[in-house]
């Protein structure tokens, strides 16, 4: 059997952990959960902008890793595999949410329009501190379409390589780069007032 490979920081690699788990080592699974729960939460939260839903999606991700552990094969990086599962679940949740919103809004009458949330409530002049800047950025991220949102989160917040993003979302690297560029240009156009202050 091959010697367990280690990360530069001396930790056992993700791929070795999942192999141990495949052989029945539950402690290895717990280590995987500890290693990835916050990373995945940040990824999914930036995608859904709702911590409760994001935690639920991350839980479901780990549940699927547990149930389908034998589907993982070492030809792929473990991080790619788990991000793919989380991304798919997040997109499904987003579609579900859109359907719910469609049905709830379609039940409103014309007189209910005053209840719609207005972007002016969060005008940049009123909110200058860091927390609200982050909130404004997050709101603008949410306005991006799912395919742009996903790549910009993976690249600029999760700081994954283009190659890994390409494998996670299963599109060519050139397409990933193009999407990242377009997403950044849209965001910087909408956040100009905020970014110019920096």
């Amino acid at each position: 059997m091959a010697e367990p490979s280690q990360k530069p920081d001396g930790k056992i690699s993700d791929e070795d952990l999942i192999e141990k788990f495949q052989r029945g080592d539950l402690y290895a699974y717990e280590l995987i959960v500890k290693r990835y729960k916050d990373q995945l939460l940040n990824f999914v939260y930036r995608f859904l902008h709702n911590q409760e839903e994001a935690e639920d999606v991350v839980q479901e991700t780990f549940l699927r890793v547990y149930r389908n552990r034998h589907a993982y094969q070492r030809v792929a990086k473990f991080s790619t595999w788990i991000y793919t599962i989380a991304g798919n679940l997040a997109r499904t949740e987003l579609r579900r949410r859109h359907r719910r919103r469609f049905f709830s809004l379609s039940s409103f009458g014309a007189e209910d329009k005053e209840y719609e949330i207005s972007d002016e409530m969060l005008s940049p002049e009123r909110h200058t501190n860091t927390v609200l800047s982050e909130e404004i950025i997050q709101r603008e991220i949410n306005k991006l379409s799912a395919k742009f949102r996903e790549v910009v989160i993976l690249r600029d917040i999760q700081e994954l390589s283009y190659e890994e993003i390409s494998k996670i979302i299963r599109v060519p690297i050139g397409t990933v780069k193009s999407r990242v560029n377009r997403a950044r240009l849209r965001l910087q156009g909408r956040l100009k007032h905020l970014l110019d202050k920096k």
Binding site: Y45, R67, K198
Partner: protein, 199 residues
């Protein structure tokens, strides 16, 4: 404007310092002349810095407890399918099936291979051999062989011999007729009795 569109596609690579030197020099020249593109590139650089500084979230304290509970519930309500269990992966199943087949073949063939004297005898030969002995018994014919032969003795054959009602004593006293060969199988005087064959 046409140039701006072309350069816009390079902004991300430029901000990440990933442009080839020639393209970078070309874009630098353009940025010196175009304030709009310069502002956009600065915006992209600042945006990346802002996104990296976004505070990280942490899961709630009971995240792992809830996960354990969900796993337990899932295991109860949906037991893992057999093909998804580690010990039943396809390679193991194929190996196991091959082993079972080999053992089965061995068990089936072993008694036949080990019994070298086992030679199926045609009913005609067996009957003629039986008739060639004083008691209707051939020493080289084992009981197993006789039983095998009996399986092939049809009721028609037995009736031809007139076995019914004949005593073993009379059958044993039947004189040897050298003219009875495989070509003269069923002479009317043949007295192989049912009892003789099945002794």
């Amino acid at each position: 404007m046409k140039n701006c569109e072309r350069f816009t596609e390079l902004f991300s690579d430029y901000a990440e310092d990933g442009l080839p030197p020639a393209e970078k020099r070309e874009l630098d020249v353009h940025l010196q002349q175009c304030s709009e593109c310069r502002s956009a590139v600065t915006g992209v650089v600042n945006l990346r810095a802002s996104l990296r500084q976004m505070p990280g979230l942490t899961t709630s304290p009971d995240f792992e407890t809830i996960l354990r509970t969900r796993i337990k519930m899932a295991r109860r309500s949906h037991p893992m399918p057999m093909w998804n269990r580690g010990h039943l992966d396809p390679r193991r199943v194929v190996t196991l099936a091959t082993a079972v087949a080999v053992v089965g073949c061995f068990l089936y063939l072993w008694p036949r291979l080990s019994d070298a004297s086992f030679q199926p005898v045609s009913p005609a030969i067996a009957v003629s051999q039986l008739q060639a002995t004083p008691n209707g018994v051939l020493s080289s014919v084992t009981p197993a062989t006789i039983m095998y032969t009996l399986d092939r003795v049809t009721p028609q054959l037995l009736s031809t011999f007139g076995a019914a009602g004949r005593s073993p004593k009379r059958a044993a006293s039947t004189p040897l007729d050298s003219s009875r060969t495989e070509t003269a199988l069923y002479p009317p005087t043949t007295s192989v009795s049912y009892q003789t064959i099945t002794f």
